[in-house]
């Protein structure tokens, strides 16, 4: 069994490109070219240079001493929070903007929930001087005002998604509709390992730099390239895909995927797709998604806007179904507590998405000699207001 994508664009039974014919030429153009373009030495050179000089890579692999002491195991934090714009999202947008340029596109569209991917996209568009349109649910625009302002300062046009539930899923629908309406000059930068093939694979490859670095960084720290565990939160699944990528086929390395349980898995306000989801089609991909028995996609909930997606990428559906990764769901309260704990033990304010991953240590016992690498996918600046309200700061 392989845990990576096959030549037909599927992870096991998940993936594919379930798209209307209107999108076929765009997606096909990308599918035919993405691997070729990524393999070009010039592309690699430019990508790596920007990751180094602009994003600030490699991001440190930090041994969290006090956190490790508390949980009596060896915890390493992969510091994606230290990247330019504050999260792992920029690894992907740098890659995709270079891809878009090589495909001759001069108009960029994106969807965003919390605004992290929107900011990362607006950033690279400014860097390259390309037009940028970001779709964002009307409700998210209201609750993520600072990121909306950042996108505007960076020169992007933020378009409210007014349809459906007016959040991330609907912003994604609007971006797809925009692409249907603008099939020739536009590239759609999807923000996670979701959407039709080849997006999940392309985004995973751009994020794979994370696990590539973990290997040599761990060699420096521990004298070995392989951790015992890799832990990451999963919204769509891009930071997890990046952290797992080079470890997918080595089953000695255990993968832990952390989903948002919201107010409790069965509270009706949750985003724990692996538990609540069923196989189906969302945004052009066959995967696990939350839906009614009748096949209508339902609205997820999480305190963290970045985990508030009713599906997971097809790679993660496969990792779940095959048992390759262990899926754990963490409630709002558990995540907030773990986030605050990291602040106080390590002096790092994490994004609430990443706080979900951190909460694993309260849920699961590791051995003292276990080397656990955790993807600290983003910093908490964007979440200050949520933290303030939650803790009455």
């Amino acid at each position: 069994m392989t845990y990576n994508i096959n030549e037909k664009g599927y992870y096991g039974e998940f993936g594919g490109a379930y798209i209307p014919e209107m999108l076929y030429p765009n997606v096909e153009e990308l599918r035919e070219n993405y691997l070729k373009i990524m393999a070009e030495p010039e592309f690699q050179k430019e990508f790596n240079q920007l990751l180094k000089d602009y994003v600030g890579r490699p991001s440190p692999l930090y041994f969290a001493k006090r956190l490790s002491e508390k949980f009596n195991t060896k915890i390493y934090l992969k510091r994606e929070d230290l990247n330019h714009t504050g999260a792992h999202k920029i690894n992907n947008t740098i890659g995709q903007i270079l891809m878009a340029k090589r495909l001759g596109k001069h108009r960029i569209i994106a969807e965003t929930g919390a605004g992290q991917h929107g900011v990362a996209t607006a950033t690279v568009c400014a860097l390259m001087g390309l037009e940028c349109i970001v779709y964002m649910g009307e409700i998210d625009i209201a609750r993520q005002a600072p990121n909306v302002a950042r996108m505007k300062m960076l020169g992007a046009t933020v378009v409210p998604a007014l349809s459906g539930s007016r959040t991330l899923k609907d912003a994604t629908n609007e971006a797809i509709r925009d692409w249907i309406n603008n099939p020739v000059d536009t590239h759609y930068i999807i923000g996670s390992v979701v959407g039709p093939h080849p997006y999940p694979d392309m985004v995973a490859r751009f994020q794979a730099v994370v696990s590539e670095e973990i290997q040599w960084q761990l060699q420096e720290h521990e004298g070995k390239t392989k951790p015992d565990y890799v832990v990451a939160c999963v919204g769509g699944g891009s930071n997890a895909a990046g952290a797992y990528y080079h470890f997918l086929e080595d089953t000695n390395i255990k993968l832990i995927a952390v989903e948002a349980a919201g107010k409790g898995i069965h509270s009706g306000e949750s985003a724990a797709t692996s538990v609540l989801g069923k196989e189906g089609i969302i945004h052009g991909s066959k995967t696990l998604l939350m839906q009614t028995p009748d096949g209508q996609i339902t609205e997820p909930y999480s305190i963290s806007a970045g985990l508030d997606y009713p599906g997971v990428g097809p790679m993660h559906a496969h990792l779940y179904k095959s048992g390759r990764a262990q899926f754990i769901s963490i409630t709002d309260d558990q995540a907030m507590k773990a986030g605050l704990e990291l602040c106080q033990l390590e002096g790092i304010i994490p994004a609430i998405e990443s706080s979900h991953a951190l909460a694993v240590f309260e849920q699961k016992t590791f051995l003292p000699e276990d080397v656990v690498v955790l993807s600290l996918s983003g910093r908490g600046d964007k979440d200050l207001e949520t933290y303030i309200n939650y803790f009455n700061l």
Binding site: Y18, E21, M22, G164, P183, V184, G284, Q291, G295
Partner: protein, 254 residues
């Protein structure tokens, strides 16, 4: 013979109307279908509403959202259509996104369609290769024609391929757009209509997206077998309810 094929053989230009099942009211479905037939419509596309209709513009989106709020489901639609063939003879096509059909079970869905007397399906997000590999046999077993779409961006090669696997008509999307976003056709569209007409495909083409009145209907059918009206009819329903369907159809056919 399938009613779609028969209709195409006998009829002059075809007017097909799309509406979203469950809109404006849950129980309007049968009434709308009967009135459309009486008014002289040749074929009907019954929209199975979906929460996330990717290929649709605001009008059909809103009607789908309302239909779902009204309680429309696949099960309810099939119940409403149970006896439809006692009163309606023209071809009926169900148009829906793949996920609700997948959840119902593709085989069970097709079987139900056959029982009711549905003639074809249009599933915009079921890709051609997946259909061919996994579902073609099932559709055919239940006498259902699967209708494929082409757009101005579809390559000649792919149009030929789609023609080769189609056996009813080809749904020709008028322009690069979601439903309902055109107002009139310009040279670009006319040239595209001509280009496709000149390909002498085995299947007739019926043009959809952006047809809203007599003028656009005539423009589209000048180069094709027929035209499909969706958003404009939904707008009519929003304004007038189900009472003046006849006058809407007459305004198209004049």
């Amino acid at each position: 013979m399938n009613r779609i094929n028969k209709k195409i053989q006998e009829s002059k230009k075809i007017l097909s109307i799309y509406f979203t099942a469950g809109y404006p009211k849950t129980d309007d479905t049968v009434n709308i279908i009967q009135n459309l037939e009486k008014s002289g419509v040749d074929m009907i596309e019954i929209g199975l509403p979906f929460s996330d209709p990717l290929a649709d513009g605001p009008t059909i989106q809103a009607s789908s959202t309302q239909a779902l709020k009204n309680g429309m489901t696949t099960e309810v639609l099939f119940k409403q259509l149970k006896d439809i063939r006692e009163s309606v003879n023209i071809p009926l096509i169900i148009m829906g996104y793949f996920n609700p059909i997948l959840q119902y079970g593709v085989e069970a869905f097709c079987k139900k369609c056959e029982e009711i007397g549905i003639d074809g399906l249009i599933i915009p997000d079921l890709p051609v290769d997946v259909y061919n590999e996994k579902y073609k046999a099932t559709f055919e077993k239940h006498g259902l024609i699967n209708v494929f779409l082409i757009t101005p961006q579809t390559s000649v090669e792919r149009i030929r391929f789609i023609d080769s696997i189609s056996n009813g008509f080809i749904y020709m999307v008028s322009s690069a757009s979601v439903t309902g976003s055109q107002s009139g056709f310009g040279d670009e569209q006319t040239n595209y209509f001509k280009r496709i007409a000149d390909m002498n495909l085995k299947n007739p083409q019926i043009i959809g997206f952006g047809i809203s009145d007599n003028k656009t209907f005539l423009q589209a059918t000048q180069f094709s077998k027929g035209a499909i009206i969706g958003s404009a009819f939904i707008k009519h329903l929003t304004k007038e309810g189900v009472t003046k369907i006849n006058s809407f159809v007459k305004s198209i056919l004049k």
